[in-house]
Symmetry: D2
Subunit: 388 residues, 4 copies
């Protein structure tokens, strides 16, 4: 993997990023951290342990002299999808492991943090530093997933608990207009020496046609108009698979929305509230984003259009669905070894999202970042930007 | 319901039974009490709350002056299957409720215990006392279910935790023989004034034919012979549904058994161990019990044969599968109201088990007790007694 | 199997019964005979072949000198559930076999009929005659299943085709009253030398309590009252499994019923018609029969009550659900070999129906006959008789 | 839809194309035409009727004076997925309709053919001619689907029937080499006045990077090497979804292949045979095509690369999987009305195949044709061409 890590990582930086994970979990009860309410939501306790295992497996066990693993079975428990490393608890069974308990997982984190900080303080080779950088980027990705998963856990129980850690969307108040981009050959993909994932590399030319892109995200107010106009009942607006998806699941609104006596309310991490019409609509699937665009007589941008235009508008509230399938760039090749399993094997049946969200870790975003989800996923922080 | 409760219940007796539930849960981590690994296993935390809700709903709210419910939503959260009482969290979603946390549930128990004890100390009418008696019997049933559910939770995770509370089977060492029972008309069903469930009532005559019944349960040694003789591979021994069941689930041994390098081991609440050949075989489905009997050229008793013969042998280690479907006795009628939903509505697709088990609460057994499970269930403490 | 066949079977009798199967299929298109719309409905073409295979496999191949099988692969194609005979096409895949075509199956029937008639004309041993008798009884059972399956195929397509072969229910016009049966020991099970199945044998004493049984079946008029009174919406009337069953399948009426602009209509083998209020209600599951009885404050008879009382009322329009699980009689033992797979292995999860129906073959009924189906099955001709 | 139909269609041309559908079905038994063995395979009888309904619905009923529909219900029976037209038999229920029988469907075809031929002979407007052209293109697409579906029906029953109509692959005997294509801006999409589908329109520029593409398809011999080298057991070669797909379905070879005593055999429409090593490998999913390319250290072409390079090699034996998701071209817009449902709504979760196959109708192929299937589909005629 041609990932670049020009700066030296200090133990302070390492610990700062690591402790952010604990900060997100502030106020969680041990019970909250143990359950897996649906296969794609992992127990928070598992995130806490799995990100730690990454450093133990790929750094400490390989490069620290006389390193003693915290527990001989944790490798088996907390490997996620790295088939190369050997057996592992299958994803759907993460919620069966009530043990190790949260307290033991937190001890595991402290143990590995200390050992890793010692290693950094002694100084490490560029090669090791690169792996640590990947581990920290991986940690930050799990920080965002943690927020999605906690929201799912809290938002699917009758008492609607709140999260202490605060995450807030802000109103989309910019005056609405469309930015014009001229046809031509553009360069796409990461450049420079900063960190990026393998899937962003291979900067290459692409031909873009004329288009105009909205300077802001679709709001809840606009989305309610779509609902009220019968958007969920008009199959002409939907992909065939999208129509099946909403029929089968009886969907009539974004995830976390409830119609209470004719009024739209939703669960937020700060509690159950009236839908705020000025905020950008969140928790929509690709299918819903596409249907909304059809309804407006517009479309979603491709990821290439997005990358070309993004420096001309504000982003960062919600990941933005594009109409691009997640596919390799020209000359992409999967890195060798376990770390190579990270991105390439998901390049089918997923659509690209660009930008970042209020749940994204600090500094964990860039113009060329390619996020991706299956078109029916809705638990992530995802919104809509239109192109005409 | 014609349930008899001749004795006066004291607050001391009440608390003793109630605290036994906490005792069973000794040493559980909060995480252990929150998950629902499969639809028929409830989170231990749910048992703790649901049994408490019973006293709050049916006693305190109805009969205690100025009683203030502990929490207004707990009725909705912890109703189990009493459709008559109104909305409730569906069974399969019990594992979504991480809140109230274990600590709050324990406070709920203490609050209700105190209130109920006060009520008892003041003296209650026979009618109220009957409901409390039912509540305590219900508590004791959940004490046994708790043990099943904890065993399932601990037995399905890679670290195989142990339970502090001790439950032990003892070897079936009685010299093996068969007890002969003579043909004739016998009386079946509860008599006397002690507590019993509605399904035991309607003492009635039944005609029993000559039979001989084993004085002891089938042991692990005998069951291993069945396995080694290809018992799980010979469809002639099985019901059609039983054969489908073991094929579909790839079953080759009782629940909790693992073949480790050719040796049979199993998870017990005291850890993962070699199978003890002298103990009675446990955790078999009705299908397996039936197939084993076919293999031996014998059969299972009917529940009537069992009731007639049981005073002549020892029982109480494991619930014993009978070849009787769980059906109403002559003149059975479902009691009115919510409590009437308790037994009658399960009188289809279930088979009767008789006796009791080492997981059964003290004094919670009698000759006429009718337990029942679907023929494929295996997580309960169930064994085999043969008839020829 | 201690089945008795006192009379000598002539080739004329044999052919008469066999040709009745073709008569039922009169007017079917080849396409009608090929499909399997749901796993429990077999293609009519398969019934025609399977019943023929029975005679080829168990009689001609075993006992006719120099018999040449019609086609070497038909044994594999048309074995039904006789695991003892070897590999077979699994039940759910019967609808994949468009070949052999109907015309070839009819040739197969003619070939085997001729060969078998020759054998009978030459004279056969008692042992062979017994197997032929079983084959003919088996043929008659399939004649009834054929009618159920054709009705399902015709009743689940938009053009609602009619069957040429006529089957008619008649109004239940007897003045309604209840027949009293006195308590005591009665004998149950087959006696005499006529043919019966193994599951009727072992005539034995049983103790019956006082009861009163209706002299006629429940009518469509009465059943519509149940529907109109909200019977399908009141969980108190239903078994827990029955309630789940009707919820999951959105059931609000018997199979083949449709509410057309507020009027109840149904598919019959003579076309789509208004429901005739005076006819007995047909195509109800055990769950619906039970709930209807609860609604009336009565109950279903046990199969023993039914057998004791049946000589005192008319039956034969519809099989009558009893509240007895299908279980072995005392001293029942499964016959050896393939024929032994016939009944015993279904003695779980099924309920007994008694009597017979207008779809039952001529002479294929008797007081002791035990039919059985899973409690949710509705495609068979099944009605309701009440006990109080 | 900007579809171009420059030539005048004669009734002779119309009938020629229509009768080809009957020719493909030569020798089918009525039973073969009635079943739907899996949801994505339609009964051949349904194809025969549905393609006819298209002409009746969109041409005769709209434009022929005094046209009398053949049967008033056929519109409901044989609409496929045109939600705009109203109710329809859901796709999975096509196999329930044994009626109309094959003979009636053939009469329907003759009736509509005659009426349509009359209309053509009288002369029609350009607008009508366009719709007829679409109907004929649609007919030809169903001709290919018919072959896939018949092969599925015949290939999934134990007697492996043969199809009279002959379809043959020929050996890939061209000397193997790779064709180099130079980087630059290329034009993609249909040009000229001939017929094309809406999804090919919007000819536009795209930037292509240097690549080399194989001059021939992957052969069975090469694919067997992949199998023998453990290709189906090495997760590193597969997408995550692909790996799950082959695990869940226990796949170890292409569809229709069977390992008989260590030798690879397959069902072809000319019977069950040894795999011919020189023929191109057929019936692979996108997942398998991708994994094979990974195994060879190469990759699949994008659809744009394919279109640019295709004039330099032979194609037409098998549709060729590309690594392009099926997405709209720039400025694509869905045509209005029912015909607009044809392509756009499938632009998610599908991958593009290019070229054509030996099952494709004569003249029904062109460089810009975009076929598409879900990545797990294998019943279509699909092969592999590599890029390095």
């Amino acid at each position: 993997m041609q990932i670049k890590t020009p700066q030296t990582i200090t133990s302070k930086q390492f610990l700062e990023i690591r402790l952010q994970t604990e900060t997100i979990c502030n106020g969680l009860k041990p019970e909250d951290t143990a359950i897996q309410p649906i296969d794609y939501v992992s127990p928070p306790k598992w995130h806490l342990a799995h990100t730690t295992w990454f450093f133990e497996q790929f750094v400490l066990s390989e490069f620290k002299d006389n390193y003693k693993v915290f527990h001989p079975d944790f490798g088996y428990y907390f490997n996620s999808y790295y088939n190369s490393i050997g057996d592992r608890v299958v994803r759907a069974d993460r919620g069966l492991m009530t043990r190790p308990a949260l307290s033991e997982v937190l001890t595991y984190r402290a143990y590995v943090n200390t050992q890793l900080a010692q290693l950094l303080d002694k100084g490490v080779s560029k090669k090791i530093e690169r792996i640590i950088e990947i581990g920290l980027q991986h940690e930050q990705q799990h920080q965002e997933l943690l927020i999605y998963d906690i929201k799912y856990i809290f938002g699917h129980q009758p008492s609607f608990p709140q999260l202490e850690y605060h995450i807030n969307l802000i109103p989309e108040t910019d005056k609405h207009n469309f930015i014009k981009i001229a046809e031509g050959v553009y360069e796409i993909g990461h450049k420079g020496d900063n960190f990026c994932w393998d899937n962003e590399l291979g900067r290459h030319k692409t031909y873009i046609h004329n288009f105009e892109i909205s300077n802001r995200l679709v709001t809840n107010k606009e989305y309610i108009e779509f609902i009220d106009s019968g958007g969920y009942k008009d199959f002409n607006l939907w992909h065939a698979d999208g129509w099946d998806f909403i029929q089968k699941n009886n969907l009539t609104c974004p995830m976390y929305w409830h119609n209470v006596d004719g009024k739209w309310m939703y669960y937020t991490l700060q509690g159950f509230k009236d839908v705020d019409e000025n905020l950008p609509v969140n928790h929509v699937s690709f299918y819903e984003a596409f249907a909304f665009a059809q309804f407006k007589g517009m479309r979603l941008p491709t990821e290439f259009e997005w990358e070309v235009a993004a420096s001309q508008f504000n982003y960062g509230q919600l990941w933005e669905w594009t109409n691009s399938a997640y596919l390799p760039y020209p000359n992409y090749s999967k890195p060798d070894g376990a770390i190579g399993e990270y991105n390439g094997k998901f390049m089918i049946n997923t659509m690209v999202l660009r930008g970042s969200s209020v749940a994204t870790a600090h500094n964990h975003s860039r113009l060329t970042y390619r996020n991706f989800f299956n078109p029916e996923m809705r638990w992530q922080f995802s919104g809509i930007r239109l192109v005409k």
